[in-house]
């Protein structure tokens, strides 16, 4: 598999406060990566750095071999990255169809695999709620909409921050099933979530962050085999 995203010695800052320290890792095309760590360890900041929403980031980020360290979010998205933020970022004043249609475009390589019908096929619940405003949806429906909207951009890589946070177990299962569909489609993902067991079933690799630094990188089975590391950095 070819390299899709490469992060080299990345530092991220909020004002004078440095949150990311010399982070380096890469994601191959179609690869599923779990980004793990306790709250406040820099996971969301790393996601925001990749999509270009963190103003002060230094180091190197390349997507499809294009230098993106100083690129605007729209340029990064057009290069093939989609973002499902913590809190979902659904547009409350737009209905379900509008949320999906406003984002629709061909992928970086001109692909148009994901259409409105296709998203409704994966998320039948969204089809039932297609005329409802974003603010009228439940948390689970909003997460489905946010993932569906990301798919409408026909991305090569989806960043999913807190995939199942605050969702009922049945709804969370639905999200995990969807992530399986995304994996089967060959779309790479970086997923942040606290459910290590569910994550380990769908990802190829885990990256563990602590205080803005990578403290472990490897297969899920390798991480699960290190109880001390899990206890220290994840509290499980």
């Amino acid at each position: 598999m070819t390299e899709l995203l490469a992060i080299r010695s990345l530092s991220g800052f909020y004002g004078a406060s440095q949150v990311l320290h010399d982070v380096s890792f890469s994601v191959r095309r179609g690869e599923q990566v779990a980004l793990l760590g306790r709250n406040g360890m820099g996971k969301t900041t790393l996601m925001k750095s990749i999509i270009g929403l963190l103003g002060d980031r230094r180091g190197g980020i390349t997507i499809n071999k294009l230098d993106m360290i100083n690129a605007k979010p729209e340029a990064i998205a057009q290069a093939g990255v989609a973002y499902v933020p913590e809190g979902r970022g659904v547009f409350g004043s737009l209905n379900v169809v509008e949320n999906l249609v406003m984002a629709a475009r061909a992928g970086a390589d001109g692909r148009r695999d994901w259409t409105l019908d296709r998203v409704f096929e994966v998320f039948p619940r969204l089809h039932q709620r297609r005329g409802n405003g974003g603010h009228q949806l439940s948390g689970g429906e909003q997460q489905m909409l946010s993932i569906g909207r990301a798919l409408m951009t026909n991305p090569d890589l989806i960043l999913i921050d807190e995939a199942t946070e605050g969702l009922a177990p049945l709804v969370a299962q639905e999200i995990w099933r969807t992530l399986g569909v995304i994996r089967d489609e060959g779309i790479a993902t970086i997923v942040v979530d606290k459910d290590l067991r569910s994550l380990s079933k769908i990802v190829d690799r885990t990256v563990l962050l602590s205080k803005g630094q990578i403290v472990f990188e490897g297969a899920p089975s390798e991480l699960l085999a290190q109880p001390l590391l899990l206890e220290k950095h994840l509290g499980v």
């Binding site: 999509i51 270009g52 929403l53 605007k72 979010p73 729209e74 998205a77 057009q78 989609a82 973002y83 933020p85 970022g89 547009f91 409350g92 004043s93 737009l94 509008e98 949320n99 249609v101 406003m102 984002a103 475009r105 909207r149 951009t153």
Partner: protein
């Protein structure tokens, strides 16, 4: 008051409200989407009227004045956004107020250099001159009726674009969450540029449309700016539908206030605004605080 006189006043109120809507919709879009308080909005209303007079004087055609005035204002808006306004995004309101106040002075000076300080009038197109006789001693100008119709068509077009097109969806999405819109790959800088230029063009269009029923004079945009802000606050910041409701309310209150309560007519719209804000602090269609 007879039914026919009431109907004439109603038409006047609606026509005033529709023009106000055009101007205020530009202001509310710029305010709601770009987050920029444009105090110079009234100055562009005035500039539009002067453009209309100038082009009409050279070409003898009101239609040319309308098209040319809007096009010139739109291009001026693109230029100003590119050179000045884009530096204001995310800045505090003081910076925005200072820059837009500076723009008022520049536009006014420009008007002085190009057109002088004389008062002008613009003739409506010949086919819209004259009046419709309503009773033996009451008539209504055809141009005012055409103005109502034109504004209604334009309002419908604005609503169509905002509510039914992908561009409108992007504009509404951007007004709600600019970062998320950009993270979806939408070049919001370009959207900003066209929204600002469109806002300026709408202000100028208002000035152009009223030029045949009013006079063109320095400072004609000052009152319109204040009224537009009242409409925006009344309707809810960023809401075009709210601006439409607010503008019609202001237009009717002002017109009927002058007829029924002439002694207090000048404060009625502000009483209306205070009442509405007590009822709905974010305006009629404004977003509720979470």
């Amino acid at each position: 008051m007879s039914a026919i006189t009431f109907a004439v006043q109603l038409l006047n109120g609606v026509q005033y409200g529709l023009v106000l809507f055009l101007v205020a919709s530009g202001l509310t879009l710029v305010f709601g989407i770009l987050g920029v308080i444009n105090l110079a909005h009234g100055a562009f209303y005035m500039l539009g009227a002067y453009f209309a007079w100038w082009i009409a004087a050279y070409t003898g055609s009101f239609l040319m004045a309308l098209i040319g005035g809007v096009a010139l204002s739109f291009m001026l808006g693109l230029l100003l956004e590119n050179v000045f306004v884009r530096r204001l995004y995310g800045r505090d309101h003081l910076a925005q107020v200072l820059l837009s106040f500076g723009l008022i002075l520049v536009v006014d000076e420009l008007r002085q250099i190009l057109f002088g300080k004389d008062v002008y009038s613009v003739k409506p197109p010949p086919w819209l001159e004259g009046s419709i006789q309503l009773t033996d001693n009451l008539s209504y100008p055809v141009y005012r009726l055409a103005l109502c119709l034109f504004c209604l068509v334009l309002a419908a077009l604005i609503f169509y674009v905002i509510q039914r097109t992908k561009l409108g969806m992007i504009i509404r999405a951007g007004a709600e969450n600019r970062d998320m819109t950009r993270a979806l790959g939408i070049p919001f800088d370009s959207v900003n540029r066209y929204v600002f230029a469109g806002g300026i063009a709408l202000a100028a269009l208002g000035g152009i449309l009223v030029s045949p029923i009013s006079t063109v004079y320095p400072g004609m945009g000052d009152g319109m700016l204040i009224l537009s802000f009242v409409v925006v606050v009344l309707g809810g910041i960023g809401s075009v539908a709210g601006a439409a409701i607010g503008a019609l309310l202001i237009g009717l209150t002002d017109t009927f206030g002058k007829v029924f309560f002439p002694q207090v007519s000048s404060i009625l719209i502000y009483v209306l605004m205070a009442g509405v804000l007590l009822w709905r602090p974010n305006g009629i269609l404004g977003k509720r605080e979470a």
